[in-house]
Symmetry: none
Subunit: 184 residues, 4 copies
């Protein structure tokens, strides 16, 4: 791929991530193109339909997440702090907005996507391992499943009252959740 084309592709993907996060995946394609500084035609050349853009953006989201989960495990020593760091990051990424990509059941067209399937599995596996280990180490309550934890990746609240930003609101909520997860 030509250098300029690649750069445009990157712009578009970055723009999509931002815009999906802020306005949701049903945002007009034009909004994404504008944010990326390209024409709609260019966007469609790279991503022939909305699904393929969601798929690619979801892939980026999830591999970034997998990446940083692995980093966290390496850097934190224990599983529990790694898990906390991971879930905080998920919340910050507003992963819920991309849930269509995460959850095969939501968007029919995305169900069979092989890249997505692979990275979903990779993330699910990381979550399962962190969960098991944190339970083994006695830090995470024993009665939650890896799936409960996976749900928490997409935690959202819809309120940002007063001067509080969404990031602050969800961060506070996530702290409560983490306290709820901690073993007594």
């Amino acid at each position: 791929m030509r250098a300029d084309a690649q750069s445009n592709r990157d712009q578009i993907l970055a723009a999509a991530q931002v815009v999906f996060r802020e306005l949701g995946v049903d945002v007009p394609m034009k909004a994404i193109a504008d944010r990326a500084g390209v024409g709609v035609g260019t966007l469609y050349r790279r991503f022939p339909d909305r699904e393929s853009l969601i798929s690619a953006a979801g892939y980026e989201y999830l591999s970034g997440l997998a990446e940083s989960a692995e980093t966290a495990r390496r850097e934190e020593g224990a599983a529990w702090p790694a898990l906390c760091r991971f879930l905080r990051e998920c919340a910050g990424l507003r992963l819920g907005a991309m849930a269509s990509a995460l959850e095969p059941n939501l968007h029919d067209e995305l169900r069979g996507d092989p890249n997505l399937t692979a990275v979903r599995a990779r993330v699910a596996d990381l979550v399962a391992r962190m969960t098991a280990q944190a339970q083994a180490e006695g830090d995470l309550r024993a009665d939650v499943t890896a799936e409960d934890v996976a749900h928490l990746m997409t935690l959202q609240v819809y309120a940002h009252p007063k001067g509080q930003t969404y990031a602050e609101a969800i961060a506070r909520t996530m702290e409560i959740v983490l306290d709820g997860l901690r073993a007594r």
Copy 2:
């Protein structure tokens, strides 16, 4: 208002609540009219635009919630179980889907709505009172604010994997959250 007109209004409002919950507030107006068994014209006669329908539906949601919060307080004896019951009900109602109505900052047109403002205040007050009382009774951790709790009313997760329904997923998440809220 004539009896049949009133009945239509009630149908529409009920339909809107169901449909908003299931498909979100951006659902086509026709879908609501169909569900209510009336023509779109009738819908527009009662609710001149989408905002006013969201507003009215939000009002219903919130007053129902206030109602049942008061019932809970009366029936549960202590504030903490009343609060738990209230938050579980919020989750079940998928209140997040109606967040536009709840949160004055989300939908500009809804900001100044007097009915909504009043019922929002009523709910906020109830939450604040339950919060304070539950903290005073030593059941709720002391470091959360009434606002943290208010956020939790709109808690959502976007995943419903395997055979689990959304209701089950959010219920499990809410239990974790309630454990996180409980005083040690």
Copy 3:
């Protein structure tokens, strides 16, 4: 159906026949709506996609044709003049432009259309009967099949040189064809 709605439907159908004939079936929907004096929305309300409009217009074309074939048979006495009259009318209608509707093999979406199938069969049957009878009466050469004749319904030439209109050009061509069909 309400009277005004019915009238609009008729306008649209009439407009479609004219515009299809002149510009072909790939003409912008807006062009048809404009010609009918309605908005595009109205057009789409009555005919949810292009296929259904082609189908309806094709049906009109073909039933009109069947009608007039029957009239011709009644009025002309013999089969041969009835056939000639019929083929002249086909040419004048520029039936070739509507061939998608006539020919199940051209437009996949139109293949299974039951109305169209029925009227196609009706026309095919009329042609077959006129053909057989004209041959029996010794006016039509014996070596042509009903299918050859059916082809001639869609006869087209693409030229309209000098001051000649298309109608004149195809009329002259059709006379030559009819001479070619006549038994010696």
Copy 4:
């Protein structure tokens, strides 16, 4: 012109003829470029717009036709069989699909094209001469004009029912036409 450039030009022209015949002159430019095995840029370098490509392809069509008309006259001896051979070839070439090029009145942009004008005149002249001669020789009915015959070059039918190909359908139709032309 460099040898490779010339070769590209030839490829494109050949591709255009094939694709125009099969899909019509409104086919996407990319389809032609692909068929020619070149990029669109190359196509546009050689033919600055669609008209000039139609013009060039039309020129090829018509000079080929003129060529073979002359061959036919030389080889057939009499004018009538030459004319028949010529018209059969026109039908086989599906000349109707290129009618825009043939007929100055159809495509405004093509009206003034000098190459096209010249070759159109050349073909028209050949047709006129064959017509006159065939009439003089008593084989062609006397009441048709050279223009009637020219029309027949673009004869089309739109049906290809059952297993019959278009080529077979038009061939059969042309035989009827030729019978219609023959003097009694």
